[in-house]
Amino acid sequence: MITVENLTKQYGATRAVDDVSMQIPGNSITVIVGTSGSGKSTLLRMINRLIEPSAGRVLIEGKDTRSEPAHLLRRRIGYAIQGHGLFPHRTVEENIATVPRLLRWSAPRVRARVEELLRVFQLDPAQYARAFPHELSGGQQQRVGVARALAAEPAVLLMDEPFGALDPIIRAKAQEDLLNIQRRFGTTVVLVTHDMDEAFHLGDRVAVMSQGRLLQYDRPAVLLTRPADPFVSRMTGLADRAMRLLSLTTAGEVASPGEGGGPRVAASASLREVLSELLWSGAHAALVVEADGTVRGQLSLETILAHGRPR
């Protein structure tokens, strides 16, 4: 758990971050979203003290981050940035081993960890360990950047627009990877983005920032149904908020028992996707099936529509 208390960053007369307090729960993904200049990156960089706060403090698991030298703190916190920031003169293997080597892990342990991470990120060690970053595709570079951030098994991973430079298809893949990785390692992820779709897709909780202030910090559904501020509703988008709401729930969560007809949809599909499928096929209900093919239940158009309304 990360506790942010009255965090402020003053640059001359302007306040980049203005008295922000928030509780970031462990083992979850928290997304900080805002326009450029909203202070979201500054807030993130104050967590690992790349920027020192003007006032306020940050506690990680109850411990003040200023109780140890900044570089030692940062070695315990994963850090991934837009454009990956890989070291061009070092191989993929050496890049990933950066923090473990700073922490003086033994060579066999470093090697084992690098290999494990390359496999997790679907990069064949035999082919890629010795490659240089410029020999990889953009998506592969980004994956190595995240693997490097996770190398020393950090409890906290900070990500500053990590997928900003990727094209839409590779970005979607990277987002799925991140969700899987988070589940697999139980990492506490804090991710900064300006992309509301990304925030809603990834975030267990979403923080909306504007002009240095934290406007609202809650679960995505609450942001949609009870926006605290006109700016929040503008950010979340008035026109397609019902569709956004539907995209937050999966078919498996709301399927009711029974085996009616209709198109088969995956239990992991969002209600938005199921609605689209129903509109397309002209059916009134869908059959929800698990990944292994067993039937979970059925889902009627009425149920879906009910979930698209604020309650």
């Binding site: 703190l73 070695r75 070291f87 061009p88 003169h89």
Partner: protein
């Protein structure tokens, strides 16, 4: 062009013919041939300072040797104009270089009466111009072959070794430059050492001082304009003037501190030369350090800091390795520049090969000038090849 070539008319045929001609080769051949035809291959002088009498290639050599040499030159001209294959071009050009060198040595031997130690036979423009043309053909062919850095260094070493062995063999001893060398052999070794010492020493000092200065400029942008501006002004001071400026403070220092004087620090001599060269060297090194550091990916530096590297670790493990090729380019500029500029140091008693150059100018003895100048050119050329190869090796895999 291709369409107009289809009807077999005479103009298009001449275009096709013209396109097969190597333009650089043709130009070099024209220049070289003109030099061989109209400029003296060697100059025969009654003694070392009188103007020489010109002798053409076929006047200087016995008929068979002159014919052989001409044949090789004709072959190299044909290859230079018509053959595209870079290996063949290099091979033939090298053969021609060796041939004209042997020819000029043979001419010197043939024109020197046995036992006569006063007469001088010097290589003339009819030798030097074709040699330069052939040298350009060689470098052009090597550039086209794009050899790996290690191979270029090996090629350089082979060339230097061959040159030293050839000169040591005694075959060239009758050439006037070698006569000057024979007279000055001991001093030559000492001045060569002094030359290298001054060039490398001032470079070393400039690297030791310039690298931290460059890092400082990078870290503290407010200092950058001031420091680089000052170094720029120094760079614009002519060498002679800077030597002069150095004399007063160093002379005063020597007068005030006996220890300084005992260390050889005086108003004239090697000390002001070394200080001036050091000052000249600073700008390229500081400027390239700043440029190299500036070009390092900011994302990489941010990631390095974000992952917990200390400032020193970021500098040594990320910034300097990534900036090294650019810094080395600065060092290359300085080294080549210094090797040339040390020459002028001879004017204030700094020693080095410039001693021969200025002595030769004073005595109107061109051979003595060449004795100083040729090794300077070879040193500068070798330094450039070595450091270029180093930069290329280090620059790999860093994009």
């Amino acid at each position: 062009m291709l369409q107009s070539a289809q009807p077999q008319s005479p103009p298009s045929a001449s275009i096709a013919w013209a396109s097969r001609i190597d333009r650089l080769g043709a130009l070099l051949t024209l220049v070289g041939a003109a030099a061989v035809l109209w400029l003296p291959f060697v100059l025969v002088k009654a003694n070392r300072i009188v103007p020489g009498e010109p002798r053409a290639l076929w006047e200087a050599l016995p008929g068979l040797a002159a014919g052989g040499c001409t044949a090789v030159l004709l072959l190299s001209a044909l290859v230079a104009v018509l053959i595209r294959n870079a290996r063949i071009r290099l091979g033939v050009a090298l053969l021609a270089v060796v041939t004209v060198c042997l020819a000029v040595a043979a001419a010197a031997s043939a024109l020197t009466p046995a036992g006569n130690r006063v007469i001088r036979v010097a290589a003339g423009a009819g030798f030097w111009v074709p040699l330069v043309c052939l040298g350009l053909l060689c470098t052009d062919a090597i550039t086209r072959l794009r050899p790996a850095p290690a191979r270029r260094v090996l090629l350089l070493l082979a060339f230097l070794l061959a040159a030293v062995l050839a000169l040591a063999s005694g075959f060239f001893d009758h050439l006037s430059v070698m006569r000057e060398y024979a007279v000055n052999a001991e001093r030559f070794a000492a001045e060569l050492r002094q030359h290298g010492l001054l060039a490398l020493g001032s470079l070393g000092a400039a690297v030791i001082a310039g690298l931290p200065l460059g890092i400082l400029c990078h870290r503290v942008p407010r200092l950058r304009a001031g420091i680089l501006g000052t170094l720029n002004v120094i760079q614009t001071i002519p060498a002679i003037a800077l030597f002069g400026i150095m004399m007063a403070p160093l002379g005063a220092l020597a007068a005030a501190l006996p220890l300084a004087q005992r260390l050889g620090i005086r108003g004239i001599g090697a000390a002001p030369a070394a200080v001036a060269l050091f000052l000249y060297s600073l700008l390229p090194i500081v400027a390239n350090t700043v440029l190299g550091l500036k070009r390092v990916s900011q994302a990489a530096v941010d990631a390095a800091r974000g992952m917990g590297m200390t400032n020193a670790q970021v500098l040594w493990r990320i910034e300097l390795p990534l900036a090294l090729p650019v810094i080395l380019t600065g060092i290359r500029v300085v080294l080549v520049q210094n090797i040339g500029m040390v020459t002028v140091a001879a004017l204030i008693g700094g020693g080095g090969l410039g001693t021969f150059v200025f002595q030769g100018i004073g005595q109107t003895a061109i051979d003595l000038v060449l004795l100083g100048a040729i090794p300077i050119v070879v040193m500068a050329f070798s330094a450039a090849v070595l450091l270029d190869a180093l930069v290329e090796v280090l620059d790999r895999g860093k994009r």
